[in-house]
């Protein structure tokens, strides 16, 4: 800040000319100019210099007049001091330059020379300065006090406004707290509940006042989730800011309140824990509903046993990494012939039977380590955690079979239940996952069933592998048909009277991309099982008939095609066959359909109708594998067959030399019986010349076997047997 001394020097330079002769207005103006320049740097006014000078001019005039006033009074000085403060010259720094200029220049510019004695003028000037200083001080003091008071009032008003806003906000908070539907409790760090809202009190069935006497730490419940109190202690020690759990509480009326509880730690401004805030949502009803739905979702409605879902969860848990269970045993039980019970006695009886089976299985498994579940129609499982050894599992299976063997009384009947059980037993941390365990048990159960049923089998890896192989083949069958992976081979049928070829049996093979060439024994049963046999059979028929057509140029060559039981019962058998023959332009007599004897056992007239229709059209029907199916010989008459194909088991005895006389007698008898019924006889499995000679001597009409030729592709067959190739 510029010093007033410096200003004075500048002024001295500026005012070097002699004062004007007339001290009147010019003198006062001159004084005001000097005054304003001296004062301006010390002020905090936002006036410009010119404005300040204009402001000071009337004050200068006042001082000039006061100097000469008669009688003299210094009172106007008070007003001048006050006016300086009013002009925002509020710094005491203003006084030295302001008074200095009055001291130095007021007498000079403010009065005509000689109008006052010098001493008098000096004395008056001094007294005016005293008055200016006093006026300035009083005004500054008043102003300071007034501003301080105004400021205090403003601060108070502002604080009041804040308090009112706080009060409004507090009121809002109270309303939120009071009217919330969620239960809110605030406890101190010792757990003592300081405040609880109405919702919380209602949940607990107590008054808000009663709630305030409670302590959070007393609310232990036997069903508390493990770890909930550890979480709470961590929070109480300030190590955790919040946690959320489902927690039960005991109500005074003995019922249990289930809540979704969130506890938060409230800290003070320094971060020290001071309160615990508990928010609770009553989930009692929702939980009950959930439990009921959960029970329904995991239990079988009919028997009340756990269902597949619950069993799968338990199996998953037992087999999961880190499971506390070391070994497991699984019995997979399927009732033998249950379908027959359902079909013959009705579903109501079947259901009662299942309920009884469930009860008996449960009675065999009283231990909590045993889980009995119904996982399908007539499929049950018993899952054993940590069995003593394999023996415990197998003895359980035996006990189950024994329990079921005692006849069950249903609807006035006594039913004896047989079942097949597949057992898997092993370490829980082994190679098998839940799906593999279940599949292995299923495969093993089917082995028990294939072995005659009413027994158990233990899983072994080789059987599983074979079954899995079968499974994989089954899965790939449909694609194989689409990708043309099947092909036909032909084996000649030789007329025994002259040794000429009479026909060819078409045999299907599968060129499997991984396993190579597969014979029909590997996949026909699978195709039959899945139903794929129908399209596959139609494909074979088409191929074979077309081939027969090619070969039939200039001669007659019959082609034999096998018909599976499933094809036999397919409604489209007759129209499909007609369509194939017509489209190839082949005579029906060029086709012989081979049907196994067993497929026709028990067939009634309706079921035989399609075959009759075909036979009447001229299609030959051969009864394949004759002699293996305990057929009622009297029935032969009713069948549309034209040929019997004698099973290879009869001809094997004729390979020996000398031939087995019993076999000779059999063949002789069958041939004479067949011929008596007007049927031709074909023998299979001819491997030696001796055999062939004997069979011819016994009167067989046609033969096939390695002695004549092995099955071969169509081209090779055509070359070897003089048939034209396409």
């Amino acid at each position: 800040m510029t010093s007033s001394g410096h200003e004075r020097d500048e002024l001295d330079d500026d005012t070097s000319p002699a004062p004007a002769a007339d001290p009147g207005d010019d003198g006062i103006r001159r004084f005001a100019t000097i005054w304003s320049r001296a004062v301006y740097p010390a002020t905090q006014t936002s006036m410009t210099r010119a404005e300040l000078e204009d402001y000071l001019y009337p004050l200068a005039r006042l001082l000039g007049e006061a100097l000469h006033a008669r009688p003299f009074t210094p009172a106007p000085g008070w007003g001048v001091g006050r006016a300086l403060v009013d002009a925002h010259c509020t710094s005491p720094d203003v006084l030295p330059p302001a008074l200095g200029v009055v001291e130095s220049y007021l007498v000079l510019y403010g009065s005509p020379p000689g109008s006052l004695p010098v001493d008098e003028a000096r004395s008056r000037c001094a007294r005016l300065q005293h008055a200016i200083a006093a006026g300035f001080a009083r005004a500054l003091r008043e102003r300071t006090l007034a501003e301080q008071e105004a400021l205090s009032r403003a601060a108070l008003a502002a604080q009041t406004a804040v308090e009112e806003a706080l009060h409004a906000s507090e009121t809002r908070f109270r309303a939120v707290f009071k009217d919330a539907t969620i239960g809110i409790g605030i406890a101190d760090m010792n757990g003592r509940l300081r405040d609880a809202n109405g919702a919380l009190a209602r949940m607990f069935g107590r008054s808000e006042e009663e709630m305030r006497r409670r302590n959070l730490n007393d609310w232990v419940h036997p069903d508390d989730a493990p770890g909930v109190w550890r979480l709470h202690h961590e929070l109480a020690r300030g190590e955790r800011d919040h946690f959320r759990v489902e927690k039960p509480y005991q109500r005074p009326d003995g019922t249990v309140l289930w809540t979704n509880l969130t506890v938060s730690l409230l800290r003070d401004a320094d971060g020290e824990p001071c309160y615990q805030l508990a928010l609770m949502e009553d989930i009692t009803e929702r939980r009950l509903l959930h439990l009921r739905l959960r029970y329904e979702a995991t239990h079988d409605e009919l028997t009340g046993l756990p269902n597949r879902t619950l069993f799968a969860e338990r199996l998953d848990r037992i087999l999961a990494a880190g499971s506390s269970v070391k070994r497991f045993g699984l019995c997979y039980l399927d009732i033998d012939g249950f379908k027959a019970v359902n079909d013959s006695l009705g579903h109501a009886v079947g259901d009662q039977l299942l309920v009884s089976v469930a009860e008996r299985l449960q009675s065999c498994c009283p231990a909590p380590s045993h889980l009995v579940a119904r996982i399908g129609g007539d499929e049950f499982v018993v899952l054993i955690s940590d069995p003593e050894g394999r023996e415990e599992v197998t003895s359980l299976a035996r006990a189950a079979l024994a329990a079921l063997a005692t006849p069950i009384s249903v609807d006035g009947r006594k039913l004896s239940v047989r079942a097949s059980i597949g057992i898997v037993e092993g370490p829980t941390q082994g190679d098998l996952g839940p799906a593999e365990v279940l599949r292995s048990a299923d495969i093993t159960m089917y082995r028990a069933k294939d072995a005659g049923g009413n027994r158990y089998e233990l899983a072994d890896p080789d059987s599983d592998a074979r079954a899995i192989d079968r499974h994989s083949l089954t899965n790939h069958l449909p694609a194989a048909l689409e990708r043309d992976e099947f092909f036909l081979e032909y084996q000649p049928l030789i007329r025994m009277s002259d040794g000429h070829v009479d026909g060819a049996e078409a045999l299907v093979r599968w060129a499997h991309p991984v396993h190579g060439r597969l014979g029909p024994d590997r996949f026909i049963p699978l195709a039959e099982h899945t139903g794929l046999i129908v399209p596959l059979g139609r494909w074979v028929l088409e191929q074979a008939v077309r081939q027969a057509c090619d070969w039939a140029v200039g001669r007659t060559l019959r082609v034999n095609v096998n018909l599976s039981p499933r094809q036999l019962h397919h409604p489209d058998l007759v129209p499909d066959t007609i369509a194939v023959l017509e489209s190839a332009g082949v005579e029906p007599s060029s086709l012989c359909l081979e049907v196994t004897e067993s497929a026709l056992i028990g067939a009634d007239a309706d079921e035989l109708k399609p075959l009759w229709q075909l036979a009447e059209m001229g299609v030959d029907i051969a009864l394949d594998d004759f002699g293996t199916g305990y057929s009622n010989l009297a029935n032969l008459r009713k069948l549309p067959a034209t040929t019997l194909k004698l099973d290879r088991s009869f001809t094997q005895g004729l390979q020996r030399h000398p031939a087995d006389p019993v076999d000779v007698t059999f063949v002789e008898g069958i041939v004479s019986l067949a011929h008596a019924l007007g049927l031709a006889v074909t023998v299979e499995g001819v491997e030696t010349e001796h055999q062939a000679d004997q069979l011819r001597d016994l009167g067989c009409d046609t033969a096939q076997g390695w002695y004549y030729a092995r099955p071969a592709p169509a081209a090779e067959f055509g070359r070897d047997w003089g048939c034209p190739s396409p």
């Binding site: 936002s46 300071t144 400021l151 406004a161």
Partner: protein
Amino acid sequence: MERPAWAPQGIDLNVPSVSRMYDYYLGGSHNFEVDREAARRAIAAWPGLPKIMQVNRAFMRRAIRYAIGEGVTQFLDIGSGIPTFGNVHEVAQAVHPGCRVVYVDNDPVAVAHSRAVLEGQDGAAIVSADFRSPQDVLESPEVEWLLDLDRPVALMLVSVLHFIEDRDEPVKTVAEFCRALAPGSLLVLSHGSPEGGPRRDGGRSLRQVYSTTNTPLVIRPRSEIERLFDGFRLVEPGLVTVPHWRPDSPPELEDPVAFSGFAGVGRRPELAG
């Protein structure tokens, strides 16, 4: 638990307030010892600081007169602080009695005091709001009552934006105000800056003093201050050190420290986008 956004801010009179410090610089007594103590430290860090405030006040007066000369008689003074000698409405109404002024401040004490001072005033009012929330300002009942936003308004941002940190995006906020104002509106702006004045330490020690207030100081270079006029066209003489903006008396007479800051007036063009 954090205080919800809608709960009122408390008042802590133990923390220095920039508006009361400003009052102290201008010779007022609307301040507490804590404010004076901080102001004295600020002056020690930047001798002559009161002079800067004084020239800013003088600039404001000149700008008001300029605005009225241009026909703009509505004023929106943001960061108005403690009413002191030579307020906008005093200066403006002295020239043109029909002028209307809305003051805006976020300091509850300054607002309470302004409310007391302005009681009974027809053409002036105070809004308790923050520059950083233009909607609160523009949609306040006081603005609705006193200002016609379809006609030009002089937006006064005198010695205030150096209290707005970059993270609060002052450029964007000024632009938001600009969009609400009619073409022909003026932006009256001054901003502290070490450029132009004696360099000293670039304001570091002064920033340290203000860091003890609730309002840290952000000193910006001239180029950044110029960006605040985005959307406005600077009138003559452009953005200059504060005493050089249309001076009444020779600027050379000013203390060198008075040049530590820039001032300018921008006009919103008629066809502003």
